[in-house]
Assembly symmetry: C2
Homo-oligomer: 334 residues x 2
DNA sequence: AATTTGTTTGCAACCGGTTGCAAAATTTTC
DNA sequence: GAAAATTTTGCAACCGGTTGCAAACAAATT
């Protein structure tokens, strides 16, 4: 069925090696041979088989992307950028949907079977051990959106969640909020923990009163909406820092349903800056993660690791910024 | 580095074939041999290489998913379901991001190089010829969300867009709207054309006046918002049928910004039923595509095609339904 | 023209599995 | 217990490429 090296070689009247070489960049072939081969290949519609090549070279040009948050619009950007960045480099993404599964064992085996050249673990909820499991299996791995820790033994690309938490506290202080609340993402997520830490620490330091601390069960609108009920119990809360835009939008709607207006009665600060944050109905002030930079850098790094596996673990942190829209009152003039 | 068949065979004291057979379901191995092999394999941490297996069997267990609409939240479901359905069957998704590229040539070559077992083209905007290009190259293909046409020569799984367009007209009529507008998705998309046809035909038949017909440039909130301006020019319009929820939400916000209230001054009917349609701020009445069924059926079908390539082209259409929320006035009692 | 140097080419082994076939081992039948 | 039937096993070829090596060729040097 498929046309192979051999067919092309016979038609062109050369050896199989010659054909292989014309399709390998930097190999030694004379102009005349190359021409003959290319002509033959074209006339037969020859396509080299990457599978066979992979077997011989032990490079598959496959990069695994493992994610566990397929329902969050923030991941639309991730998928989009990840696939197009890989495509530029003639690599292919192999998607793994974790959904639930949190033990790395099976996933590592699975990606090893496919002999992926590298893996990007794109999730902010899993512990570092998930990524190191790949490393232990000899698979180059990057933990994108992962928890950054000084003594890293794995590559991490992302943001400093502790710092971002603090940024939220500062944002509230600048706008003279005094009594605030934290409505985090799922409590088990490392990113939630770090943001909470950063937020609570700086809040106390700045003299803010954190009247409520609660967590949504999921990164969803519904969970945010429900979790907000608890915050609404305390009438003193002037502003809420949410662990995720989606959760935040749910929370905003819960507040509105309770008759509060935003930002007059209660302010909201989100996280991620998903597309919907800019919609009129929410006009959400939020902390933006530079997803584009993070993904581009991750892909670059994973490619670098494939070429040079000995590379020592690197942490790449990108700055976040507050995108000012309409869900908080303006900065106090002083 | 990696441990191979040979290593396991030597340790277990059997031939390579024996090892291969214990890892192939339905192959003939005695219990004693199997046991020895499994023990040896475990102790070495052996994982069969799918690449090598693919070369020998010419099955890669890779299914290509080609999409071009990575920014639409509707695709979150698609990615989620697609990956998890494949995973259940021990298959892997290979993602291709079309973004812009509309000529099938390159994409077909690319997926042929990876020898994917099958391809799902998941887009409602491309012509059937895109899918048939795969077919011509001998790759089992399904056009999911594709244009259905009676004399199909390619498998199609999706909805009847003409019928859905008509459903929109009927929905308006039932609620006694008289002057309506169509705000479609990109005009070049086959789905847009079909929905428009169905809508306009039944609208005239039912005596509805379609005062405006216009199209958004993209499946985005922004495009919807802009395109809505043209509709607003005509003050008689009582309700708008939008080609996509995202577009619709942009349009709703444009209407509100112009001081109209929904559904009192103007009604909206969306398409797709993305998660955000259920958010309080929009509470969008919309036509739901059963994405879950469509994807599950597509995966099933592509698997079937891999097993039986001779299968004749099939069209699988799923019914859509109106999800009644708050963006249209209630059905007139009669 | 002979020698040296540098390129191109084909051979053959290899990557890590699968599988048809025939021999060997086991089980069933009489 | 021998013959027949069945199951298990190893051999060796194959899947479609790559690549080290040495032979063949071409160009440069003396």
């Amino acid at each position: 069925m498929a046309v192979t090296l051999k067919d092309v070689a016979e038609l062109a009247g050369v050896s199989r090696s010659a054909v292989s070489r014309t399709f390998t960049v930097g190999a030694s072939v004379s102009a005349r041979t190359r021409e003959k081969v290319e002509k033959a290949a074209k006339s037969l519609g020859y396509q080299p088989s990457l599978i066979a090549r992979s077997l011989a070279t032990s490079r598959t040009k496959l990069i695994g992307l493992v994610a566990n948050n397929f329902q969050n619009p923030a991941f639309l950007d991730v998928f989009d950028l990840f696939t197009s960045e890989l495509q530029k480099r003639e690599l292919r993404p192999l998607l793994v949907n974790l959904s639930g599964e949190t033990s790395p064992k099976k996933i590592v085996d699975l990606l090893r079977q496919y002999s992926v050249d590298g893996v990007i673990v794109a999730t902010s909820t899993l512990p570092t051990s998930f990524a190191t499991a790949f490393q232990a299996a000899g698979v180059p791995v990057i933990h994108t959106f992962g928890k950054f820790q000084a003594n890293a033994n794995v590559h991490v690309v992302g943001i400093d969640n502790i710092h971002c938490g603090a940024m939220a506290a500062r944002t509230f202080a600048e706008r003279s909020y005094q009594t605030v609340a934290l409505l985090g993402g799922p409590e088990s997520a490392t990113s939630t923990q770090d943001r909470a830490t950063g937020f609570l620490n700086l809040a106390t330091e700045l003299g803010l009163k954190v009247a409520k601390v609660c967590y949504a069960d999921n990164y969803t609108y519904q969970s945010g909406r429900e979790a907000m009920r608890e915050v609404l119990d305390d009438a003193r809360v002037e502003a809420v820092f949410c662990g995720d835009d989606l959760i935040c939008m749910g929370a905003m709607d819960a507040a509105r349903a309770a008759g509060k207006s935003i930002p007059e009665d209660i302010g909201f600060l989100g996280f991620n800056d998903i597309a919907m944050a800019g919609w009129d109905a929410y006009s959400l002030t939020t902390i933006r993660q530079p997803i584009r930079d993070i993904i581009m850098s991750s892909v670059e790094l994973v490619v670098g690791m494939v070429e040079n596996p000995g590379r020592s673990p690197e942490i790449r942190l990108f700055p976040c910024s507050v995108v000012d829209r309409g869900s908080l009152r303006p900065i106090a003039k002083s």
